[in-house]
Amino acid sequence: MRYALHRLLQAVPVFFVTTFLIYAMVFALPGDPIVALAGDKPLPDEVLHTLRERYHLNDPLIVQYGIYMLNAFQGDLGETFTGQPVSELLQGRWSVTAQLAVTAWIFELVVGIGLGVIAGLRRGGIADTAVLAGTTFVIAVPVFVVGYTAQITLGLNLSLFPTAGVDEGWPVSYLLPGMVLGSFGLAYVARLTRTSLIENMRADYIRTARAKGLRRRRVIGRHALRNSLIPVITFLGVDFGNLMAGAVVTEGIFNLPGIGQQVFQSIQLQEGPVVVGIVTVLVMIFILVNLLVDLLYGVLDPRIRRG
């Protein structure tokens, strides 16, 4: 418990530094966002002035950031340049990205570990070679190629999945994008599981367990796999954050109205409040998930718990 509290306190400075950095980066983008919004048409002084005032664009960086944080703690995350409250915007979008990330995550976890175990137990066999070749391929091909190919073949030509959108809800609409998004992490999970399992199968305690006459299933499940999963769980924790961020491309291809799309648009429009709002929540999720992972170590390996 003290450990958990300690970790949470550590998160506070991380939170402020990251949000300030993000705010400063958006602030530093070249060009005047209001003028850019107007396009080719001239804006009268009065209009320019009103808009700059509304979004505090005349103030120096530190003041803008201060105003933003102050409002944020009172639950007001500001509004976008089109006048939509950021909190409302995020509400609608978070659930989409969360559902996508969870789908991808489950896919990585189940299929990744499954493939890793099969490959690790039959080292050098056909299954192992296939998994190695397949994962190398997936890591090498960029995610948008996987995305479009999957959309055209599995979605359009074979009609196995919906091509795009969230009309059919979870899980149907999220299966294909989840698999595409998770494919990259899946390759890592499978390889990590495989390597770690092979190493552990050679360890003394496995030989002891075998010598005790335990059944193979129990040796692998209770002893080898449990220890082999520690690096995998670490990866899965870190990767959950990556999934949230990696959603930018996948959400674009599959037209899922999540935060990935929003971040992309908002960076282009230089909408500081939106970018910071999203990144803040991302940072918090990242910190929380990694805290959970740390606590999970103890469950998997009692030695860590006692230490």
């Binding site: 850019a36 009065e46 055209i152 091509t163 674009g252 109205p257 992309f264 429009l269």
Partner: protein, 537 residues
């Protein structure tokens, strides 16, 4: 309108740039059955606003054209025709009388009166509201009172003393009198722009709510609220008394982030109409859709602007030589799949008064003549910088082609690219920081040569080109007795701008639409999607 559209387009940059249209596949035979009867869906990019005075995004306009009846509409030949108005007349082109058709209603039952228009226009012109279409009311008398300029040395503009344009006079329930600051023969055509839509009294109680649930006077009414980033549903308005009742029960605008995804959904039968088939998929779409593929000429043009204030670009002969050294057709074929049309005129083909190759030989690719003219003008010294923004990868592609042609055909050895961040590009041009040819794009607001010539070649233009004769011709044309009478004067002005060539016309854009076999009666033209004409099979 111009850059907004482009900026929005660039939001799909990733997908467009990386599109892999590998597999051909077969076209989906029919649209999905999950939609209700007599409803069809339209692929759309997220609009910015739905208050007519506060948006110039083409995506918003697609929706607003279904929700609102403007005083005037543009027919497929580019001529203004009456819609909400009975007539728009003037004796001196300065004081205009708009007579409205009687008996029209808003979706909430309020009658549409002259006051509905006056209220909406005043709100748009009122500076502190900061609405996008503010600028369109610039030539109405009293505009400067609503938009006071900041005094010398101060950023802050004083608050306006009034919120009503003195040039708008409500004569009676169906008569509105508009007084302009100067004669303007093109005024009726501008009334087809959605920025001139009427608003009911109910709107002003809560403008924020109105922006997501606009109440209009058109054949369709909003059904529920605008579900941001997902969909906008509209349904047939039963109390509609105007000239174009809806032929379908409802329309669902499905919002897409990427053009490529929308196109895939059209092929999968999940959306019935899209207006943005990606150029990379042109030939495939033609093959799959057959006559359900529609190419519509648009008013959008690309130009190559030249910094006339830089002394290396001061000779008109040199500027013409650059124009003649560019093989427009080759670039259009290579970069745009042949979808765009090479141009030898400053206005788009659909604009009344357009003349094919008004430019003459100065816009015809001829390597030998170009080089001879180039040498006669004294050649070019130093580095030639080419300016464009990073909003879309195609800009760099065609600029590279232009650079290669100038190198090969004129022998300009040192050409560099200046790729400017999109948000900075226009302020760079306005401040005259460019010292070389630059990309200039224009999206038409209304089909009049004036809409091209005045903003781009008129006083204070980006090229730094000055011609009193040109400005005088525009003033004459603007105050001509009728639209027909104004055309020859605009053409004279165009000839003058072409003979001096401060900006080189390149090509005219085309919009590519496609629709499913579930709908018929699709009549998309350059001015409107005409959703009211579409029937569901």
């Amino acid at each position: 309108m111009t850059v907004w559209t482009r900026t929005r387009g660039s939001a799909v940059l990733l997908a467009t740039m990386l599109a892999v249209n590998a597999c051909g596949g077969s076209p989906a035979p029919s649209a999905g059955g999950q939609q209700g009867a007599k409803e069809f869906s339209v692929g759309l990019t997220e609009p910015d606003h739905l208050t007519p005075g506060n948006t110039s995004s083409s995506y918003s306009i697609t929706v607003l054209q279904a929700l609102f009846d403007l005083p005037v509409f543009i027919d497929s030949k580019g001529q203004p025709q009456m819609r909400a108005a009975e007539s728009v007349t003037s004796d001196d082109q300065k004081v205009w009388t708009i007579k409205l058709k009687a008996g029209q209603k808003f979706h909430n039952g309020e009658p549409v009166t002259a006051e509905s228009f006056a209220d909406a226009w005043n709100a748009a012109a009122y500076g502190p509201n900061a609405w996008t279409n503010n600028y369109y009311f610039e030539n109405v008398e009293g505009y400067d009172k609503l938009n006071p300029e900041a005094p010398e040395g101060s950023e802050e503009a004083p608050k306006p003393t009034t919120d009503k344009l003195s040039g708008l006079k409500v004569v009676d329930a169906t008569t509105l009198e508009v007084t302009l600051t100067a004669p303007f023969s093109q005024f009726p055509i501008t009334l087809a722009y959605t920025g001139f839509a009427p608003m009911p009294k109910a709107a002003f109680a809560d403008l924020k709510a109105y922006d997501v649930k606009p109440i209009g006077n058109g054949p369709f009414a909003l059904d529920g609220e605008w579900a941001r980033n997902r969909q906008i549903k509209i349904k047939k308005f039963d109390g509609y008394a105007g000239p174009r009742p809806a032929k379908s029960a409802s329309v669902n605008f499905k919002i897409y982030e990427s053009r490529d995804t929308a196109y895939v959904d059209l092929r999968a039968g999940k959306v019935d109409l899209i207006q943005t088939i990606p150029p990379a998929s042109t030939s495939e779409a033609k093959r799959l859709l057959g006559d359900r593929f529609v190419a519509t000429p648009s008013g959008t043009m690309d130009y190559l602007g030249l910094p006339v204030y830089d002394k290396r670009f001061q000779s008109p002969d040199l500027r013409k030589a650059i124009s003649m050294a560019i093989d427009r057709q080759a670039i259009v074929d290579a970069v745009f799949n042949g979808a765009f049309k090479p141009m030898g005129s400053l206005v788009a083909p659909l604009v009344p008064g357009y003349r094919e190759n008004a430019c003459g030989e100065a816009c015809v690719f001829d390597k030998a003549k170009a080089k001879a003219l180039f040498d006669k003008a004294g050649g070019f010294s130093g580095t030639m910088n080419l300016y464009f923004s990073n909003a879309d990868p195609s800009y760099e592609q065609w600029m590279t082609a232009v650079a290669n042609q100038l190198k090969d055909n004129l022998g300009i050895a040192d050409i560099q690219f200046r790729k400017i961040p999109a948000a900075d590009y226009l302020s760079t041009l306005r401040a005259h920081k460019q010292d070389g040819p630059y990309r200039n794009n224009w999206v038409m607001d209304y089909p009049s040569p004036q809409n091209y010539l005045q903003p781009m070649w008129g006083a204070g233009n980006r090229m730094g080109w000055e011609s009193k004769e040109f400005d005088d011709l525009l003033t004459q044309a603007n105050s001509a007795a009728s639209m027909e009478a104004s055309i020859p004067l605009y053409q004279k002005a165009e000839d003058l701008a072409l003979s001096e060539m401060p900006m080189i016309p390149l090509w005219n854009w085309q919009d590519q639409s496609g629709y499913s076999d579930k709908i018929s009666g699709v009549q998309i033209d350059a001015y409107s999607t005409n959703l009211d004409t579409i029937t569901v099979k």
